[in-house]
């Protein structure tokens, strides 16, 4: 297929996934912030950590003075100054979709186009904090619809695989960042100190990747911080874990190399990172240092995106 089309599909999926991730981050902040202070912990500012998780704190501070709920919502959901705001993600996704309409199925196009139309309506009026959940639901549903249409209607060929690659690179990046922002509450030595307060932090992490209930099904026990990390890093059955993302990335890169009859740096890198995630235990990672591990992972993940681009997309 055309390199430019593959590139647009790759980024289209990344942007839809990013919009959904930002919606989840805002959702967690909203829930945590609406908890009574005695549960929530006095020290934490959930709206600020939403900005950090979204990688948007610096950009935010350039525009706003105060980290208020209204400001954070505006910046993460609507602001034009924030290239990764939900609004900008959906705008960019639609631009990409328009330029590759012939590579999309009509269901995928309609999912993007109606999300874009719906969001424009929201943008027109200021959203109140209490209306946030409804808005976030809309974004999550748009992403589900896009993803579902892709799964159900696309031919299983390179167009499909490139769109999946974008999605998993973005998802892996997001999961690693969610963990990294909260890594201090996951360290074993903090477990004793934390008590009730940290419990909510762990739950929030899980919730931000839709894994709170899954946790119970996998471990059958109360929340333990190292198990939260285990679930999100190493468990292949957890769809947003780093291991699952890399399983999918290596699989789809192999699909492409089989179809094209040749492999390259992208295949090698994905396989190496996947191997590092499957041959390790969570104890091992903690000994190495969770924060260091996640930083390395984020850099590797970024490098894989670049390798895919230079091998196929330009």
């Amino acid at each position: 297929m055309l390199s430019r089309d593959a590139d647009s599909l790759f980024w289209l999926s990344r942007y839809v996934e990013r919009a959904e991730n930002t919606a989840r981050i805002l959702d967690v902040a909203y829930r945590m912030a609406s908890m009574p202070i005695s549960y929530n912990g006095v020290e934490t500012n959930e709206w600020e950590s939403a900005l950090i998780t979204a990688g948007a704190l610096d950009g935010f501070l350039e525009v706003y003075g105060e980290v208020s709920p209204e400001n954070v919502i505006e910046f993460l959901a609507f602001s034009e100054a924030n290239p990764s705001s939900i609004q900008n993600c959906i705008d960019t996704a639609r631009q990409n979709a328009r330029s590759v309409r012939s590579a999309l199925t009509s269901e995928m196009w309609e999912a993007i186009n109606s999300a874009w139309l719906d969001l424009r309506r929201y943008k027109a009026r200021k959203i109140k904090v209490e209306d946030l959940p409804r808005f976030l639901n809309l974004v999550k549903e748009a992403s589900l619809r896009y993803d579902g249409s892709a799964m159900r209607t696309m031919l299983r060929n390179d167009a499909y695989w490139f769109s999946r690659l974008g999605l998993y690179i973005e998802r892996a990046d997001n999961t690693a960042r969610v963990l990294d922002v909260k890594y201090h509450v996951l360290l074993p030595q903090d477990a004793a100190v934390g008590g009730g307060i940290d419990y909510y932090q762990w739950a929030a992490i899980l919730r931000s990747v839709s894994a709170l209930v899954s946790y119970q099904w996998v471990y059958h026990q109360n929340l333990r911080p190292w198990l939260v990390a285990d679930l999100l890093i190493l468990r292949e059955e957890m769809p947003r874990s780093l291991a699952a993302c890399y399983g999918a990335l290596s699989r789809h890169l192999d699909d492409i190399s089989h179809r094209y009859g040749k492999a390259g740096a992208a295949q090698r890198q994905a396989r190496a990172t996947h191997a590092r995630l499957t041959n390790r235990s969570i104890d091992d990672i903690f000994q190495h240092g969770l924060h260091e591990f996640l930083e390395e992972f984020l850099a590797d993940n970024n490098r894989l995106g670049l390798a895919i681009t230079s091998q196929y997309l330009c």
Partner: protein, 474 residues
């Protein structure tokens, strides 16, 4: 023409329902009034959701607009279509022969039928095409011929569009919407299908591939990009044909061969269905400041390694001054009488015509020779005195740039409005495909309608809308 009541496609001159419309009219009488309003809303929703939009240049406010769709179909009987399609085929054949002649032996100039300066001074004349033998002898693979009528007898050609005619996606989508919204009505009579247009287009394009290309040639559709007003159509056609939608930057030329950049490396391209102006095809040959084109493309084309449809330089045959000679092309090249009529045309470049035009501006439609899309024209009877005066001085300053025609009492067709059915002026753009293996036509075309009461301008950029067009089986 003006003395009689305006001819209506459904009701004729006298309000007597015409045969082809009888089923529709009975159905309209029996349909509850809310039903039509409901379906109209559904249709709009459909177009919006699917994103069938077009961009209006110079109008940032409404970057993407819907072309208004009217739910009342326009109907042609089998006999009407038979006559019209014969005329179209004849006309397009003559136009292709003219282009072959102009870029070859130029017999028509030597015979004194067309003044040479109309060719050589035409901005769309491409000297680069001269002496080039196309392996198929076809210059215009896709033509959109604008047809109007003033009674139930004759079809008049208003304009030949031989460069990058658009609108066929609306023709196809309109039918799809009608079948979705009015299955019961569509099922009540035998409407000839048009859905095969895309297959016919692909067949036509493949038929003109260079002789060196493989058995199944690679076809691409070349678009200026997502900001172009017809981008929706480009992506629609590429998608339905199953060919890549490319921009200039996706193509490159090496050793006079054209390739596209793909995820598997360079891939050879055999046929380019070009939807960009000649000017932007190749910066080495045409406009050097263009970022849209493909450097070296024309060299590859001249070497016979790639086909471009339509060929560069077809615009010399479709400007409004050349238009008035097309009936002569038919007589000169084919020895036949033209089946389709031309609208009488005054060429302002001719002295007597000019003085007639200037004196009768208020009764005429005056058009810029190279204008399109309803821009640069004056509809005399609807224009203010000042506008007429202004236009007059423009015409006098550069008479060669203008032609004038009588204001035709264009036929009307009923449209659905808030106040019920009301007549509005319509035209028809059938699409004529010409391949090495002959002419292909799907029955019908795009009916455009001037939605403003009394308006004669049907262009989508000027607030026109569209309708589905039905050709009934004989």
């Amino acid at each position: 023409m003006a003395a009689r009541a305006i001819f209506d496609e459904m009701n004729g001159h006298d309000g007597q329902s015409r045969d082809a419309y009888r089923v529709l009219q009975d159905w309209l009488k029996s349909a509850p009034p809310q039903l039509l309003e409901h379906r109209r809303e559904e249709a709009e929703l459909f177009f919006r959701r699917v994103g069938i939009t077009f961009a209006v240049y110079g109008n940032t406010e409404a970057e993407e607009r819907l072309i208004p769709f009217d739910i009342i179909p326009r109907i042609l009987s089998g006999q009407e279509w038979a006559r019209l399609s014969r005329g179209l085929e004849q006309r397009v054949k003559a136009l292709n022969m003219f282009l072959k002649d102009i870029y070859g032996p130029r017999e028509i100039l030597r015979a004194g039928i067309v003044p040479p300066e109309l060719v050589y001074l035409n901005p769309y004349y491409r000297p680069q095409m001269h002496g080039l033998s196309l392996n198929s002898d076809i210059y215009v693979q896709v033509a959109g011929i604008d047809i109007v009528r003033v009674d139930d007898q004759d079809f008049y050609v208003l304009e030949d569009n031989l460069r990058t005619p658009s609108g066929v996606s609306y023709m196809l989508e309109n039918r799809e919407v009608m079948m979705r919204l009015f299955p019961e009505l569509v099922g009540m009579q035998r409407i000839r299908p048009i859905e095969n247009y895309v297959d016919e287009l692909l067949g036509t394009l493949k038929s003109v591939a260079p002789s060196s290309s493989p058995w199944d040639p690679t076809v691409v559709l070349l678009t200026p990009g997502a900001l172009n007003s017809a981008y929706y159509e480009h992506s629609f056609l590429a998608d339905r044909m199953g060919v890549e939608l490319v921009e200039g930057r996706d193509l490159f030329v090496r050793d006079e061969m054209v390739y596209m950049r793909t995820t598997e490396g360079p891939k050879r391209v055999d046929v380019i269905y070009s939807r960009i102006d000649d000017d932007f095809l190749d910066p080495l040959v045409f406009r050097p400041d263009s970022a849209l084109g493909v450097p070296g493309l024309i060299a590859a084309y001249r070497a016979g390694n790639v086909a471009i449809a339509n060929a560069p330089g077809t615009g010399v045959a479709d400007d409004k001054a050349m238009y008035s000679y097309v009936p002569d092309f038919v007589r000169f090249y084919m020895g036949e009488e033209p089946i389709l009529k031309n609208v009488p045309t005054w060429r302002c470049r001719e002295r007597e015509s000019l003085s007639y035009v200037v004196d009768n501006l208020h009764e005429l439609v005056v058009k810029e020779v190279n204008g399109s899309g309803g821009y640069g024209m004056l509809v005399g009877p609807h224009a203010t005195k000042e506008a007429c005066e202004q236009f007059k001085s423009r015409v006098l300053a550069a008479p060669d740039n203008y032609i004038a025609q009588p204001t035709l009492a264009l036929s009307t067709s009923p449209v659905f409005t808030e106040k019920g059915l009301a007549p509005r002026h319509v035209d028809l753009r059938p699409f004529v495909l010409t391949g090495r293996d002959g002419v292909r036509l799907v029955p019908g075309g795009l009916t455009r309608v001037a939605l403003t009461e009394g308006s004669l301008v049907v262009n989508s950029s000027q607030g026109g809308g569209t309708k589905d067009t039905w050709v009934l089986s004989e």
